[in-house]
Structure formats: structure tokens, C-alpha cells
Symmetry: D2
Subunit: 319 residues, 4 copies
């Protein structure tokens, strides 16, 4: 059974000795006064999804030349990598025979899962906080219920159709898979974009290929133990480009654990809490990378789970 | 508690008296020798989804002029109409505070649901049988497990992007909502298509507006008790047009109960079992109908539930 | 969706007008300094279950004369009365055939339920608080996890075998069932005990027959809407007798709603929070009352759900 | 994903070669004509629980001398050994504050589990078949529903209070724990009973100490991989003594896998299907054995899960 509070790392550092003044963490969440209200408005709940406008769709669709569809989502089953006690349990019910003259048998299943947080998954803004405060400074305590949050629910997102961009960092570094805890830097991103002759635009779905997805369903313990991904600097650089979302073929998009052991998944806060930028995890990018696709129409339909923190998704790249 | 076997209606009719020879049902599932193998091939599991080809996507995308996106799916919550004991239960977990220096709180929820069969839902082929036989004559007994079917799973479907067509039957009849048990006929479909200056093409996502969706979440008992929808003749007529799927703003697409009390949801068998044509239920068509949209790019992403019978979905019409 | 905070009734009263000084509630939870530490000790988590000693068992067993066993628990199914969105959902899995020469088929089911709070149910101390404080002033925030509480879990209780006493208040009042919102008073209890020639002893399982159980599974909406039961005074009187538990054939043991509209289920706090006395709800007492049983061996085995708030149970009276 | 049918071992043996006639299995389920109707009656659903009579209770209670209660059940949590994908998942809900003047906080949890088949568990008769046939030849197909079986449900059992007997086979063999796949023989049982100066009586709860329980929650993979237990001969010998149930501190009571690789858990069929004798698994017998207890009052209260295949339980030995 896990306790709610880990234990303060700061205290641990003091106990461990060293300088009388413990080293400050390399990144701290900005105060509410700085990050709120959101640039999208004081009552905004949609953050970067606000980029969805008719013109966004038209720009995406312009990129469709052959009609080829490349699936970016993994199949959902109990062989997926899971964190902690998360599940994707399917129980097929007994067949029900409607004994009319047409003898119609009916099958269905009950699914039990943290369906907002398994498989290829899209993070909504209710998922993460700084202290008790969400994106746009909505407060958890005042907006919670046992059956759903009353602010920032993923049901607000809707279909996202926009220009998609694959930044193939693994390809840029000439490897199939980046190192187990490799931090992707701004230089890596700039280098890859240059090599791919690609520029980021506001509203993009920016997908990053680390190669880590190669382990998905193959070596789950290693897949979840750590991963390569963007660090704080790279995240801030990307967020400044005003994307619709950041995604990767690893479980947190960012490098994990963070090289700075004092902070836990800071990019989740930079994206979701501070800037209202969505994250998309556990993508299947092997085909996209193998085919050398850099730019495409990105289409993703999160489930409209009322008050949910996220949704498993089955997005595609179309070109 | 429901028994697996209802009780034979035929027997009931005999007991009730009448002619020595009970009236034959108006429709009978064709024998396996007639319907198998599928035109898509003896080992085919994808049926009408086989219409998904690059050209299908290009044809759909051609219809996008303004980039307007119209959502066709309902929000998922426990206020939806449910059949029997189906659920959509969301339990928000207690917030977990990662007590690092960046004090990152994390939220998620456990969802318990027949997620293939609730809300705006897409029926896969494992969902329905004639006796023990599915589409393309795969047998249930040999292809079942407790955690998923090993043939015809909805994970095989993938994104569907095709020309969408709204046949506004309610509009054609000059009503907001068709009658509680009104059977849509071939004449209704032809009349509406003519009025809308519309022709069906192979591979279409054919959506039918009955107006019944008006009751969804407003008067659930009435919504599920019965509904207007296509009858056997209309279904056979539509299926002959070789669509990718048939959908409606009611719970079974077809009229329910069927006017012929001896048969139970025959169109489910005609579409899913006999012809391998997908069904899409509980659509939200009010906006599409109100805006007089007849033709559009239809986009739908079912979850890749391995071995699943279907998926709740959040499809869109784009134009 | 329900908000966490109802809205202050006090404020409502002020708005409603009346005297400048709103009437004080008829009962207020005592301050922590008064109720803690528990008489059972500063680190005690078992409260009234501490009455379980070998002598308690011997005293109970002495009452067994004929060996007759009377079941006091209801059958568990989805026809039970439920509060809010609580469930008792059973999904029978598909039969699994172990295809060895002995062809052994295996059946099981997945059960999804608030199993600590449905059916005939036993309340543990983690179930209720005053503000953030439990029995013996353990604090919720410091002792919570997503998978169980780390103090006061029902797994600590163990089997309870003690003298059971049925106070037939409905019988005493000469009715089959007390009124929908009747408050049982100290006089009612004293009168019934006198009529039954019964005296309460420390460590007793005190069960109260209201007759309300007659509605269980028959008229669930009425059963849960309100109920007769003990009021604050009667509860304090009973608690002073130092029982092992208080039980009844209604859903909260106490009268609900409380006649004082400012307070919500105060007896739950008096018993569970203030005094560490267990509650036992939804008992099936019809047979016990009909047979005129006043005194018996009471046996109850709560499930050892680690960190759980309670357990459904199937207790018996043996005589 | 597991197939329903393993694959015929007989066929495997033929492939493996050897004599043209494969060796017959050492035990075969008797034909229906032999085992049905049950000695308890053609419509009987309760099997060995029929031993519960007032005299049984009195005989059990006579054995209570000091009032000492020894718990025989394990705590329920997710650290228990599980078979396959079975679960015991507890999700503590967010605390709900009833914001009345008494500020009453309420906690509860949703539990998702094969609650008939986890932890210290009691097997009902719906749990196992020979082909499609249960105890007393009730047929699965005719008595199934998605929410419960309509024959042989565990809700029929009720509290079992009877003479309990611990046969300490590990103690008899002078070891703490029998071998990983040791088959307990009739000689073992007779020897232990003789050493303990104990005779079996009809209606007994016969509990066997193998010592295997020592691994429970400590080395779960080894615990479930195999285990010592009674073989077919010992089971038949025990069943002939007409017990109320057979129990052990391992997961199937019987030796597993069976030395005869052609048969799968035959004692489950001998007990549950052929003779209608209940099984009780995963008992915690260390304290009972350490205290040298041979004879005691056995008390067990299965949950009344309507139509269920079994129940987790928290039984006790009282002496």
C-alpha cells in the first residue's frame, strides 16, 4: 500500500549532509500570479485545444496527398505496460441467446480500466496539479466529485485535427532507440528539425520519436522503469512554439526520472499546468519514422468522458 | 436475473391456438452456405471496413471546404440511456501528491463499463450471431476466451475516414421526431435522398436522422423502450449499396421492436452477421440535421480493444 | 454529479430569516480534547471490538440451548436497496473447460461493488469522520492511500462472538413497522427491554427491530428515502451501556433524516467517531422478532479487507 | 489470451509414441447414472451443507472450553497469491463531506474482485463441472445467466458451525512444510489422526495442514506454481467419512499438478461434482498447528452472493 506523501527529498538531502544550504532544484513551478489567468482567458478550460479552428483543419487536410493512413495507437489489452496497479481488464460476458425465430446471439464485455491513463493515452488538464492548483488556477478541492471533476474534464476537448509533425530525434542521433534515461535537448530538436527540413507552427501536434516504443509490449518492466525524453529546457522551447500538443513514443513524453532528482516529471507541469498544452503518450511511431514521414494530417478523437482526466486514444497520421 | 433462453415464441403461438400451421416469420437468416464465405474472402474479419483505401480517404477529404467540425458523439456519463444493467461508472481516485520539490499532484479515475456498448457506439462483428455463427461463419465457441474473442475483434477496424451521408428521414416526413415505433421504408429513404439531391456510393458512412436522439439523456426510459428506425426491407436496400456502415440517432439503427414480433433485431443480423456491415448507434445528429448537411467527411476512431465486440466512439462530420 | 460540499444549512437558515441569531443545532460533535484519547488507549484502532475476550465467547455460547441458527443477513444481489450509485454487480465469466481427460469445467464471476457498504453491512471506523478526524483522533489525510486506509481498517476486527440482544421496539409499540421517520427514544428502549425482561450488558451486540426491514427488496425507494431509528438521546443511552455494536433492520441504525435538519446522521458520529462503537445495518430481523427471541449468541465475520471502511456480512443468531 | 480448450493430452501422448493404446488415466469421473441423484435428494442444491442441523451446532459448541478464537483466514489485499488474472482491487473513493453543522465526512471504496475465488476461499458447487454437468447433475447451460447461476448458488449455504478437525500431516511427517508436489496418502492421514488421537465424524470440517501456507504472501509465484495436497485416494477416503467440507492451507486442497498428468484437479470433481462436498482453500493454519489444536468448533460465514460460485471467507476455530 502506498502512502500519499513520499517523504521530502529536501529533508533527505539535509540528512545526507553536504553543504549547510541544500542545492536548489533546477526548476520550480511558477507562482499562480505568473501563470494565471491563461492567455486563453480567465475561465478557459480548453488550453491548447483552442487552436482547433476551421483553418487549422483546412491546413491539416492540405497535407493529405495520397490518402494513406498510418495508425499511431497501440492495441489495448492486458499485455500493455502499466504503472502501479493500473489495469485494462476485459471480461467477456456469457453469450445471450435471444430465442426468437431468428435466434440472435449477443456478446459484450465489461471493461475495467483507468481508461484515461492506459495504452496510447491523451492527458487532459485535470490530470496534474501544482499543489492544489490546476491549469488556469482552477482548484481541485472545489471542483471534485466522486464521479468526475467539474472543471477541465476531457469531454471538453473534442476531435483534434491539425498539422502533425514528427521530430525523429532517434533518427537524428543515428540510433534505433535513445538511451534509457537520455535527456533530449533543444539542440537535439533543432538538429532534427533542420535535418528533416521542418519548421514548427503554432497549433501543431508535435510528436517526438525516441525509439523507446520499441520496448512497448516487449519488455514492459524496462519500458516503465525509466525512459528517454524531453527535458525541461526542450519542453519550454517547444511550448514557446505554441503547439496543440506534445507527444512521444514513451510513457511521459519527458525524460524519466528527471536528471534533477529533486523534481518529479516537471514537463507534466510545464505542459499541462503552467501552459495548458496537452500531452500524448505511448504513441506507436515506428511506422511513421520508418517511412520517413515528417509532416502529416494528425487526427485524434478522445472519448468524451465527462469530468475525466484523459482518454486512451487511437490517433492516426494521414498523408 | 435473466435466463439465457427466453422461451420460444413459436411454441407460444401454437399454444395460443390459431391455424395448425403458425405463420412463418417475415424474415429468416439465410443459411451459412448462402452467406459464407464473405465477398471479402474466406478468412476476412474486417467486412465493410475493407472499403478503407487511400482513395476513400481522398474522396472524403475532397468534401472538406470550410474546415467546420461537427461532433456526432454524446458525452459519456451515467446519465446516458442504458440497456439492462450496462454501466458507465467513473470513480475518481484520491489525489496522489508526489512530494518532490515541485509538489506535483496526480489525478486519475477507474472506469467500469461495457465500453463497447454504451454511449455513441460502434458495433463490431463479434457482437452478434445467428445461432453460434458470426460474420463469415466464424464460430463463437472456437474463438472465445474470457478476455477477448480471437476472431473479429474491434481492434481490427482502425480509423474510418470516408464520405458521410445524412439521410434526414424525419426532415423528409416534416417532423422533428418519427413515431415511437415507426418503420422507415425504402420509399422513405428514396424520398429523402431525392429531396436532398443525394446519391449513395459504395463505402459511404450512411447516417439516418430519425429525430429520436432528441430523447437521449432527456427521457431515457422512452428512448430505450422502443424506437423508429429502418426495417428489414430498407436495411436490405441500404446494404445493397455496399456502405461502410449504417448509423442512426437511436439505439439499434433499426425499428424496435420489429413489427414482426417473431423476430428480434433482424437488421443487426442482416448488417453484422450476413453482410459484414458495421452499425453505429446513439449518434448525435441534431446539429448536422439543423445545419442541413447532407454530405461530409466522416471520421471515426474506435478504440483498439483486442477481441472486443465494439467501441464507444466520438465521431465527427467535417465539411 | 454531486459536489463535495452541500452548502451550509446554517447560511440557509440565516437567509430564511427568523431570529437574528440562528438556532443552535441540537447536537454538536464534542471537541477532540474530550473524546481522545479513546478509553481503549491512545493507539487503539479496535474500539468496541476490544470487548472480544475469551469470556465474552463463553458467555455467548452459554446461551446456545437448541443449536438453532437464525440467519440475520440478506442475500446479495442487484435487487438490494442502494444509496446513490453504489453497486453489487456480478458478471459470470464464460465457462473455462480444462480439456484434460477428466474434462473439468470451471466457473467464476467478477464482482464489482462497494462491498463494505452494501447489503447487510458492518461499519468500520474508517467510514466516518468529524472534519478530518476519525475515532481516536486519527487523521484521514495522513492515513490514506488509493488502495486502503492505513489506520482503522476493517481487517482489524475479526470474528465477533458475543451475547446478542434484540430490542423489539416495533413489537413494544404494537406495530409491524414503525413510522417512516419515527425517532426511537430512551423510553421506547427501556419499555421494550422491560417488556422483554431483558437487561443490557457490556459487550452486547444490541440489535433493534424497527420493522423497516419489511421494505427491503420490496419497496427500495421508500426504504432508502427515510427510516425510523434511534435518535441522539437513545444512541447516547445505548453507548453508555458499553456495547460491542448497535444494529438495526434499517440502513443507518438511526432515524433518518434526523429531526434536527441541521445535523446529518449524528448517531454515526456518536457511535463510530466519538465512542468507537461499531454499527450494523440492513439486518434481516423478521424471523428473530417473529420467534420472540430476545437473547442469543451473536456471530459475525467481517471480511478482512485491508484498510477497508466496512464489510458486507452474513451474521447469525444461535440459540 | 487463453483459449478455452487446452489441447488434448491424449493426442499428445499418442504423438509421443509408445504403445498403440495410450495409458488410461488413473481416474475418470463416474457417469451421471452413478453419481445422480445425490444421496441428499434429486433436487438437492446444498450437498454436504445439509449436515448443518441443530445437533451439529450443539456438538460443535460442546468443544468450546476457554473461548479462545483462532483466526483461520488471511487478510484480503493485492499482495495475495492470485491465479491468472484474478484481482482484489480496492479503490478508496474521495472523501465526501456532508456539510451540515456536524461536518460529517464519509469514506468508502469500490472493490473489484473475483470475490468467490480469492483469499481464503470457500468453493460452492456452481464452481466446477464434469463436461456440462454440476453436482446432482444440474446442467450449466440451462441454469446460467450473466449475473448469476440459477442453481447451486453459494447464497444457499449459510453459516456453517460444526466440529472442526485439523489433520496435521506436515507435523506427522516431522516437517514445517511438505514437498512442492507431495501427494498426501491415506496412510498419511491415518497416521496423523492416530498420532493426534483423533477420529473423523460425519459432518466434520476437515482441515489439513500441509505447511504450504507458509509461502502465502511471501513467495506467491512458488505458492501457486504447484503444491502438496491430498491425492485421489486420500480424497475418496475422506469423502467416505461424510464430512461437511475439506480444507487446507494451499490453493486447491489437493496435490497440484496431479501426479497423473492426464487429469486436472480431480479432487475438485470428486468433492464438488461427484459427492457435493465443499472445499475450503488458502486457510491460515499456522497458529492452529503451532498450538497443537486437533479438535475445535469451526465457524464460517460465506457471503450470500446470489448465484455465486463461492465466497471469500474469514473462518475461525474456537475452543
Amino acid at each position: 500500500m502506498q502512502r500519499i506523501a513520499f517523504g521530502t527529498v529536501m529533508a533527505a538531502m539535509l540528512v545526507a549532509g553536504g553543504s549547510a544550504l541544500a542545492q536548489a532544484p533546477s526548476w520550480t513551478p511558477p507562482p499562480e500570479s505568473t501563470r494565471c489567468p491563461s492567455k486563453w482567458g480567465a475561465t478557459d478550460e480548453r488550453g491548447s485545444a483552442n487552436h482547433m479552428k476551421p483553418q487549422t483543419v483546412l491546413n491539416a487536410v492540405k497535407l493529405i496527398k495520397t490518402g494513406e493512413v498510418i495508425e499511431l495507437g497501440h492495441v489495448l489489452n492486458d499485455k500493455m505496460p502499466f504503472f502501479g496497479t493500473r489495469r485494462f481488464d476485459v471480461h467477456i460476458k456469457r453469450t445471450f441467446m435471444n430465442d426468437f425465430s431468428n435466434r440472435r446471439g449477443s456478446n459484450e464485455e465489461i471493461v475495467i480500466s483507468e481508461i484515461g491513463q492506459v495504452g496510447t493515452q491523451f492527458d487532459g488538464f485535470a490530470h496534474q496539479t501544482h499543489e492544489n492548483s490546476w491549469y488556469n488556477c482552477f482548484k481541485v478541492a472545489e471542483n471534485s466529485s466522486r464521479s468526475g471533476f467539474t472543471k477541465l474534464g476531457v469531454h471538453n476537448v473534442g476531435s483534434l485535427i491539425t498539422r502533425g509533425v514528427l521530430i525523429d530525434v532517434a533518427g537524428f542521433k543515428g540510433v534505433e532507440m535513445l538511451g534509457d534515461n537520455y535527456e533530449i535537448t533543444v539542440e537535439d530538436l533543432e538538429g532534427a528539425l533542420k535535418k528533416q527540413n521542418l519548421t514548427l507552427q503554432a497549433g501543431d501536434a508535435v510528436l517526438i520519436n525516441t525509439g523507446w516504443g520499441k520496448l512497448y509490449g516487449k519488455d514492459n518492466p524496462r519500458y516503465v522503469k525509466s525512459c528517454p525524453g524531453i527535458g525541461v529546457k526542450a519542453a519550454e522551447w517547444l511550448v514557446a512554439k505554441d503547439p496543440m500538443l506534445l507527444g512521444a513514443d514513451n510513457w511521459p513524453v519527458e525524460v524519466a526520472p528527471n536528471p534533477d532528482k529533486q523534481i518529479s516529471l516537471p514537463v507534466h507541469q510545464i505542459a499541462l499546468v503552467v501552459n495548458g498544452v496537452h500531452l500524448l503518450e505511448n504513441l506507436k511511431l515506428d511506422e511513421l519514422a520508418a517511412k520517413g514521414v515528417s509532416e502529416f494530417a494528425f487526427i485524434m478523437q478522445p472519448l468524451k468522458i465527462q469530468g475525466g482526466t484523459g482518454s486512451t486514444v487511437a490517433p492516426v497520421a494521414v498523408r
